[in-house]
Amino acid sequence: MTQAVAERRTDFGPPQYERFLPPAIKKNYGKWKYHEILKPGVMVHHAESGDKLFTVRAASGRLLSIDKIRLYCDLADKYCDGYFRFTSRHNVEFLTDKSENIEPLIADLKKLGHPVGGIGNAISAIVHTQGWIHCHSAATDASGIVQSVMDDLIGRFEQRELPGKLRIALACCLNMCGAVHCSDIAILGIHRRPPKLDHANLKKLCEIPSASASCPTAAIRPATVNGLPSVEVIEEKCMFCANCFTVCPAMKMNNPLNDGVSIWVGGKVSNARVEPMFSKLAIPYLPNNPPRWPEVTEAVRNLVDLWAKNARKYERMGEWINRISWPKFFKMAGIQFQKEHIDDFRHAGLTFKRSTHLTF
């Protein structure tokens, strides 16, 4: 046994990336001169050596079967000498130095049902989380909404005629795995009912001090319920963050009658033109309506259309709104401004309008 432990190989890390770089990249590593977008989903990088590297980007979907990965491998073997990559937004990219491979590769990708696009002034794939497929804290499904929204917006992925880039992201709860809070449009699963307490099992499943300490508004305090040590929740202080549920399974947040989706707009991570920005609340609540979430799909489509029609060249969603002002945005979008739109947590005062710069 001692020997077996001694021989166990640990902490060796991921494979060194150079093993997986195509020869054209190894040769021109760090020596790229410029790139051009040739058409939707296709770009060429020119190296100082005069070499060209073509990239074909296709929507992939985040959840993939091994069968699909093997089909990608077949395409990479056929057209790209056995190399390919994925992007930070769940797209798949095939790279080749042979321009004659581009069209047959695109045709094969389309046959597989994978649209080519997402480069330049287009919608790229939606970064998203696990949802009901694999997460215990999901307030909504992730893949189903993404599917419905992108089935609807696929045309905006396959062209590049938008004013600027449009990045949509979805998180199925307020934990927000991924950079959802800095997206042009963020779709966010929300809870609206305070935790349901399983008093009989709370002491067994949770540490009571950690459960009370987890609450950012101090709404949870230790209490004896039916003779058992447990906690109580001051419900009017609950803002449904679900942090308590994360540390205590006996404080269940998921609730089909009250869970739903909120829509946020105007965030970005890039530094281009204006500094990175958080997304801001546009629509406080839409119902969970599987399998196709028609209310969410329609809301996202309306926001995209409104921005596409009115923004100036290069203006991201948030830059456009900052130019026209938020009151105008609400009016143009036909969204009723209400109490929930006004921040009331930390630093809320910084979000109040502190000038007379108003439009009428």
């Binding site: 760090g30 990965i69 990559r85 089909p256 630093h347």
Partner: protein
Amino acid sequence: MAEQMPQTPLLDELEKGKWPSFVKEMKAAAKKSPMARDLLGQLEQSYKEKIGHWKHGGIVGVMGYGGGVIGRYSDLPEKFPGVSHFHTIRVNHPAGWFYKTDALRKICDLWEKHGSGLTNMHGSTGDIILLGTKTADLEPVFAELGALDFDLGGSGSAVRTPSCCVGKARCEWACYDTMRSCYDFTMAFQDEIHRPAFPYKFKFKFSGCPNDCVASIARADMSIIGTWRDAIQVDQAAVQEYAKGGLDIQNDVIGNCPAKCMKWDGKKLDIDNQYCRRCMHCINAMPKALAPGKDRGATVLIGSKAPIIEGALLSSVLIPFTKMEPPYADLKEIVTKIWDLWCEEGKNRERIGEFIQRVGMGNFLEAIGLEPQPEMVAHPRENPYVFYEEYFEEEGEGEKK
């Protein structure tokens, strides 16, 4: 476990559009795997009831590691025994998400043998996610992954799997070697990735330029974003070509310059580089004509996170410029000092950004031995309540207490 494919009338609706369908992927896996069949059945039930059916994660893992596996159990184990255990394995991806097909096919083969046949390529943090296996399969999967030179990624209160943009592999804007740095930091901090010992998670993300293609400024505790110190490289002939090709340089390029540091007289683009804010817009608009300067490196920022617990934060400047050259000793030394302080003083589940908010950036800088610099703030303080730490005593003839 389900012998037959479950009836999924609701999920079937999601196969009818043009976007690649995740339901088709699940059904492909379900043809071979009873686990995937039960996953499909359970998801259909979630769609009917509008609620998930997963219990809180349990503590499972492989010997010698404190993370890399997320325990997952169905709350309907009798109805869906195939997902009674359905653990996630996080596999540290190769930097830049490049693959050779032979390696990836072998991962597919092992996942066909030991798991549901479903994956995420990739999870939000960057790992390859192998979705759904049983406790008994964890050790065999780890052994077989190891034979392919793939190790586990991070989970829990640990360094999470670092990720980076494509960088110098395929981008002319990479101001430092993101893939090399990402790999180097990943290897240097293997123990911190695999054995959670921090107050909470710590993420590194490496972006080669201020376009920040891995969103490091929004979600990395340490965001390393490429930049340059000297003048933007300009090819005047190529600028003229863009103008001839229909680009409105005055309005679309100069009109969007945040520093208003450019002029265009119809022939020559003149940039007053001392005021350039390195925003990338002009370079993005004319990639053939403009390029970042030659004195390249990175700005290091600290503290971004999603809302849990005290609200979302963006990273803020910690080191305005560093060359980011191997072996990155100076930066690693700062990282170690930050971790020592945070492990000593941080509260449970307090990210470094929240920690800095609580103790004050000034105190934080002092504790890790960095001088305050004007680049670190959007503007100096507006509030006059300064925590002075020393004052003069009359008795001591002007000596400070």
